[in-house]
């Protein structure tokens, strides 16, 4: 009796979690669509790299973290910021370059930060942030703590020396790092096989005495499961992991890049769109009877409202004060 009851409780808790993931992915999707719109309207400037198609990767990975864990990532960081729990308002305001943005309007789309959530950027140099993740992992170990440092990067980054130098150190020092390669098959306009001598990316972990997995990035459950195993390995006693998560970018590399053209065909993109992580997850939840179309529609409405609110908030927020140009170059505080 009691057990059945608590089992039901657990069930409903899990169900809520699962519906929550759907909501997160929907939020990311609608957020990016809106960001694209705002970019076309000139409300967002610079480079703007959307995450559409890769949502399950961020949600699945973040779902396994603790609040005190650390994340570093690339310029394609909107979705991951939202998945980590940063507000749509703070992120959209940053894209708008406003004082209310998560980086106070100084970082922009490529440099989202929220130190309170351990979300440590948003970095623009391909491969350049991978050693930073190793360094955060080093600090965790130095302090004999049990957090993990995770690092997202694209498959094109694994040819860069920074990737190899960082993984080698993570390997010899057994750092609590999870290196997450989001293999969306293209680095800008260059297909994986034209830039990378091995098709099987995760095998490069062998060079660094590191555990590895290949994961279907469109299947949220698979991402969660693989990430769970990686996190277990990373917590004391620490061991790093290289995850190759296979996914696909449904949109162009950035707002200035067409969805298809020189480097991939309309057909290829459409074929991949059939495995939209949001649709796959919705279908699963429906099949398990955890949600129905009506509820999904309502959830989508809610999410759209949240995104519209973020847009309005960003639009109405003030620009940074002119003096802000000169602050944050050096520390204000005295030496330690």
């Amino acid at each position: 009796m009691a057990t059945a009851k608590s089992a039901r409780k657990a069930d409903t808790k899990l169900a809520e979690k699962y519906r929550g993931y759907l909501r997160q992915m929907l939020l990311m999707r609608r957020f990016e669509e809106k960001a694209g719109e705002a970019y076309s309207l000139g409300k967002i400037g610079g480079f703007c790299h959307l995450y559409i198609g890769q949502e399950a990767v961020a949600v699945g990975c973040m779902s396994q973290l603790r609040p005190d864990d650390y994340i570093v990532t690339t310029y394609r960081d909107h979705g991951q910021a939202l998945a980590r729990g940063m507000s749509a308002r703070a992120v959209m305001a940053e894209l708008f370059g406003k004082a209310t943005g998560c980086s106070r309007g100084k970082g922009g789309s490529m440099h989202l930060f929220d130190a309170s959530l351990g979300f440590l950027g948003g970095h623009g140099i391909v491969g350049g942030h991978i050693p930073l993740a190793a360094g955060i992992g080093f600090a965790i170990k130095y302090r004999k703590q049990d957090q993990v440092a995770i690092c997202f990067f694209g498959e094109a980054a694994i040819n860069n020396g920074a990737f190899h130098e960082a993984l080698n150190m993570a390997g010899i020092w057994k750092l609590p790092c999870i290196f997450i390669c989001e293999n969306n098959r293209y680095g800008m306009g260059t297909a994986l096989d034209r830039a990378t001598a091995t098709w099987n990316i995760s095998e490069r972990a062998a060079s660094y005495d590191m555990s590895r997995e290949v994961v279907d990035g469109q299947d949220l459950l698979e991402v969660m499961a693989a990430m769970d195993r990686a996190v277990v390995r990373a917590r004391r006693p620490a061991a790093p992991t290289l995850l190759e998560i296979r996914t696909y970018r449904f949109v162009g590399h950035s707002m200035s890049d067409p969805i298809h053209g020189h480097y991939r065909t309309k057909e290829e993109v459409e074929a991949h769109r059939l495995r939209d992580p949001i649709i796959l997850w919705s279908e699963k939840l429906k099949a398990d009877g955890l949600i129905d179309d009506e509820a999904i529609r309502k959830m989508d409405e809610e999410v759209k409202a949240e995104v519209q609110d973020a847009y309005d908030f960003a639009d109405q927020s003030p620009d940074p004060e002119p003096e802000e140009l000169w602050t944050d170059v050096y520390a204000p505080t005295e030496a330690k």
């Binding site: 400037g45 610079g46 480079f47 940053e94 370059g97 406003k98 980086s103 309007g105 100084k106 970082g107 922009g108 789309s109 490529m110 440099h111 970095h123 623009g124 140099i125 391909v126 491969g127 094109a156 980054a157 040819n159 860069n160 020396g161 920074a162 680095g187 800008m188 306009g189 260059t190 034209r194 830039a195 990378t196 020189h262 480097y263 620009d319 940074p320 002119p322 802000e324 140009l325 000169w326 170059v329």
Partner: protein, 326 residues
């Protein structure tokens, strides 16, 4: 004379030099199939094929070194950096390999290579994507540093750089690619190391290069309206500096303002100031002032970015200072 964009002028120079010399090839990220991140190499893959237009992995250190190695055995590589910001990853190959090969080998191994790509800020690309590094490269003996401001100079200087037998750091500007101007057809060569007076004047010399040339020309117009006649000297080449042209102009105007997009500390402009005060100290009626980018990492917000950049207004203010008009 046909009117071309700066981008197409570069494209024409690449096309002509590759047609002229089979040892010339272009290597870099997205230069081929993608037609160039900024389309400077548009159509070249189709015309010259994948053996001479080579897409690389995102490994600046590695492919810069590949270029250096190919130049060691006599090829004439053009290595494109998607932007010079990323070339920091390759600077070891440029400084420790390319710039020193001839010297270390006692003159046995030449280094006919061009490193090129856009430098400086575009619009709202923030701190890591908006940097000027010409003063770093100009600091290095063995390198030449070229920074054209106009489509005609872009074509003429790129052709000269490709034919040059030494490593050339060739810096373009994303914000310049769409600018238009008349460009001589065919064999148009602008010699490395020659500045050009882009606008003659008598009261003050505005020394500039790359993006600050247009800014100084605007400033000169505003000043003209106020009765101040400013001469605009476009350096075109940062290393070696054309001291003759600089001294001749400042020797006449007795006043100078140096405008550069980059940071002030030990920027190329500081060297220009050093040369002027050393070369024609007695000709100076006022200190040489510099207008530079704000001494901060570039902010993303567009108003902050605008405030960080060099503007005609800032140049005009500096000119009035050296003329003691304020």
């Amino acid at each position: 004379m046909p009117t071309l964009t700066y981008r197409d002028a570069l494209n024409q120079a690449l096309r002509e030099e590759m047609a002229r010399d089979p040892d010339v090839f272009l290597m870099g990220e997205e230069v081929g199939v993608y037609q160039g991140a900024y389309k400077v190499s548009r159509g070249l893959l189709e015309e010259f094929g994948p053996n001479r237009i080579i897409d690389t992995p995102i490994t600046e250190l590695g492919f810069a070194g590949v270029g250096v190695g190919a130049a060691m055995v006599g090829l004439r590589p053009i290595i494109e950096f998607m932007t010079w910001n990323f070339a920091l990853l390759a600077i070891d190959q440029i400084v420790n390999s390319a710039a020193k090969m001839r010297y270390m080998s006692g003159g046995q191994v030449g280094m006919p290579i061009v490193f090129r790509g856009p430098a400086g800020a575009a619009l709202q690309l923030a701190a890591q994507h908006s940097q000027c590094f010409e003063s770093m490269y100009a600091h290095i003996p063995g390198l030449k540093v070229v920074m054209p401001a106009t489509p005609a100079d872009a074509k003429g200087l790129l052709k000269s750089s490709i034919r040059d037998n030494d490593p050339v750091v060739f810096m373009e500007g994303e914000m310049l690619y769409n600018t238009k101007g008349e460009v001589p057809e065919g064999e148009h060569l602008v010699p490395i190391g020659q500045a050009e007076i882009k606008r003659p004047g008598d009261h003050v010399t505005l020394i500039c290069y790359s993006k600050t040339v247009a800014i100084c020309l605007k400033a000169a117009e505003q000043l003209a309206a106020e009765g101040v006649s400013a001469e605009v000297v476009d350096l075109r080449t940062i290393r070696p500096l054309d001291l003759e042209t600089i001294f001749a102009s400042v020797g006449r105007t007795h006043r100078a303002v140096v405008a550069e997009e980059g940071w002030y500390f030990a920027g190329a402009g500081a060297q220009v100031v050093d040369e002027i005060q050393k070369g024609i100290f007695d000709e100076l009626d006022a200190p040489v002032l510099r207008v530079t980018g704000a001494d901060v990492p570039m902010p993303y917000n567009k108003h902050l970015e605008k405030a960080a950049k060099v503007s005609p207004e800032k140049v005009v203010t500096a000119v009035k200072k050296v003329l003691y008009l304020e």
